[in-house]
Symmetry: C2
Subunit: 476 residues, 2 copies
């Protein structure tokens, strides 16, 4: 069996912890691991790492590779979309790639950013679903509803599948019903929540795409033909510029709307597992540990008479007084304070910020790079202070700047610096001046991480002021 993790979420509802560059699946929302790491780990008892594929936006490809390589997933198992086209395109892309490996294999599709409390029970159900999928069904996993939730899609089960106890034909799908309807569903029985987990044979889903989404189907061979391997270290699969154009022309539609609601061979296996799609900040009270007053607080919070509140900080001290049902999410450059019952509106807030072209929508102060990361410490008109971390064995591009010079001070580790025609070793507690327009390159050839403080100065201090002469990550 293959696993395909759809990691295309843009995660606006988890702003300001999520940004365009770091959506929910790449964040530690609960526990020590990120959402996608939890998703991978959950599958490993059932699906070997080399069979787990991921589809993500190209913007998130490096970071997704880095987060999953520790589980034995090779970057070549990551398919990078140049643009998000909803789940039908992602499923089609993955199915076409897997078709070359084994058209008769079952392919299980998973969202990258859900919480499932009992991974063992989950794998048991997947095993059962695999058998139904082998018979040529599109199998959906249904979660037994525990409340009349309006925000979910519902699956109405029909007759029992012949010879398959516990599996049913699907009578119909209902997208986000209103409160009354949802209540009726619960009372009536026979409805499950659609949790976005699907199993089917590779060949089956491609046939269905051919029938119901012919335009997508027709594009798949060229998309695969224009898929290239990227670079030295993180050679995930991405599209060349021709492939990008084709991908951009694909219909924007979900696999649910495009296929499942139309196909005649859809089955559902209702399951009673604890599942949460962690759709917004208020979900934390269902998936995280609460204190005696029903609060979910990070360590840096000093509360006084608070109940039912969610406060997520990142080290800064937070004093909370008399809060009831309030969400606070604190990051170095942006803060959210929100009524808990209006957590869904964070998406609208982010739209408002987008209209204002606020940079806090795109990036946080820490920006992940293929070689490590940088963190903005202070930004003014004519200078910028950054902490730069270069991972072991990595190096930045050979580059120069037309508008700024730089001052580097190593605070941890040791750097190897190319500066015009010189090569310089820069040790802890040593500084170096990088003049305007000089060709330079920063590398960490050692096993310990390299950390340096950089002061950039010039008439224009912007990321875009960079000329790359050589780059290990093909960014020239």
């Amino acid at each position: 069996m293959f696993g395909v993790i759809l990691a295309g979420g843009s995660g606006t509802r988890f702003w300001p912890k999520s940004r365009e560059q770091s959506p929910k699946q790449l964040l530690r929302i609960i526990g020590q691991n990120t959402m996608i790491q939890n998703t991978v780990e959950r599958l490993l008892p059932l699906i070997p790492a080399e069979n787990i594929f991921m589809v993500t936006h190209a913007l998130h490809a490096f970071e997704t590779c880095r987060q999953t390589e520790g589980f034995g997933i090779s970057p070549s198992q990551l398919l990078a979309e140049p643009v998000g086209k909803n789940t039908a395109a992602a499923v089609g892309f993955a199915a076409k790639i897997l078709h070359e490996k084994n058209p008769d294999a079952v392919m299980a599709v998973f969202p990258a950013d859900h919480v499932i409390k009992d991974p063992k029970a989950f794998c048991d159900i997947l095993g059962r679903a695999e058998k139904i999928a082998e018979k040529g069904y599109l199998v959906t996993l249904g979660i037994q509803p525990t409340r009349p939730e309006e925000g979910y899609g519902y699956i109405k089960q029909g007759r029992t599948l012949e010879g398959s106890k516990g599996a049913f034909e699907v009578e119909r799908f209902v997208e986000k019903p209103d409160a009354m309807t949802a209540q009726k569903f619960i009372a009536e029985g026979g409805y499950s929540w659609n949790c976005g987990v699907f199993l089917w044979k590779v060949a089956t889903i491609l046939e269905e795409i051919q029938t119901h989404l012919p335009k997508l189907y027709a594009a798949l061979p060229s998309i695969v033909a224009h898929t290239i391997e990227n670079n030295r270290k993180y050679d995930y699969r991405l599209l060349d510029s021709e492939g990008e154009k084709i991908y951009d022309s694909l219909p924007f539609i979900s696999i649910d709307n495009g296929i499942l609601e139309k196909s005649k061979r859809v089955a559902v296996i209702p399951a009673t597992i604890q599942w949460n799609d962690v759709g917004a900040w208020d979900a934390l009270e269902d998936v995280a540990e609460k204190d005696a007053e029903g609060n979910v607080f990070t360590e840096n919070v000093t509360p006084l008479d608070c109940t039912g509140s969610i406060i997520q900080g990142e080290g800064r001290m937070i004093g909370a007084v008399g809060l009831k049902d309030i969400i606070v999410v604190d990051t170095p450059d942006a803060l959210l304070v929100c009524d808990k019952n209006q957590a869904q509106k964070v998406k609208l807030l982010v739209n408002k910020l987008k209209e204002k072209h606020r940079p806090e929508v795109k990036l946080g102060v820490t920006v992940q790079k293929p070689w490590g990361s940088y963190t903005g410490l202070e930004e003014k008109d004519h200078y910028l202070v950054k902490r730069i971390e270069v991972n072991s064995g990595e190096r930045l591009s050979l580059q120069s700047h037309n508008h700024r010079s730089e001052h580097w001070t190593v605070v941890s580790g040791s750097a190897l610096v190319d500066l015009d025609d010189k090569q310089i070793t820069l040790k802890e507690n040593e500084s170096l001046f990088i003049p305007l327009k000089s060709k330079h390159r920063l590398a960490n050839p050692h096993e310990t991480p390299l950390i340096l403080i950089e002061v950039q100065m010039g008439d224009k201090v912007v990321e875009e002021d960079i000329i790359r002469y050589q780059d290990d990550y093909n960014r020239c």
Copy 2:
């Protein structure tokens, strides 16, 4: 007439904007000026700058001088208390100093951190009060109550003062009555709020101190004898170590409890001016501009469906969703989120933080120094990044460090640096390394401010690691 501004507030209820080092009177709570600047400005039409004295804790003396020198107040008009002993000691100290200048002059006492909406009406009343004070009365200014406020002290007026229309004998003082009692006072009439503004002749108040607080009275001559001028630029008056001991032994009591409630010659002038003691964050909705939904927001707030809320930021982006009656105060190192109706509890929160020895109680990231300020940008175990601003014409002490070296990069202005036996001019975009244990001094001899980024590195990176050899501000 002399003015004496009591600026001893520690301002815990305005945490995290106020800290031990920067209490409310030194902050811009509303408008462009700080509270003490507003207080000084309000008095200038009536009292010449050279007659305005201030009493403050030594910790706040430099900054108080700096904030008030632009109004023509000389640092020698500032009396620095080594320890806060409530208002009786501060009034006694000031009265004894003024006694040498003119024992028969009227001395008017003002809190440093209240808001008064109509300064002209205020000065008119002060003029009337001065005349009563000249007759030997202790005159209190009473504010006509507009609501049954429990948090204030009340003054019950008695008979009209003979020959002084609009002025009354005081029948009694009532400290913070309960809600029922306050309501009764309002219904009954003849009560005013005690706003902490008092006028009396210097000789009169000293006589009253002699009668009611003989211990304080006895100490005053030695306190004045042990008062010294401090230093080159900000030669405010402070106590020598002997004087500190004496001051520390003074009774801790307010002028209200110690004198006014006991004296037989107290008068009150009820006034209908718009006054607010700005006692806690919720006061902002009375003294600041509100939007149509009753919110008081700084510019960096993006709100969605908020009402009656107060959000005060300092540049970081704040998204607010669905808030009702919530206070948010955001600073670079600490955040407060508080129910508006529980704003008084911020004091309790700060006590809790004190018990935990949290540094955020004492200092913010920007620390005022006599020569300028520094701002912490990043602090880790073994290094610290700071922005240092040196005011024109100022210089730091000649110093060395036993545990750290420093890397300086000038980002604005130009520095003159002593480094061991060399003198170095460090211009914008230039860097310098200050080795461990080297004797060094940073000066800004130019008219433009000097700004530099400092990276401190060493086995111990703490403010206390400093040996001072010479200092313009007597801190050796």
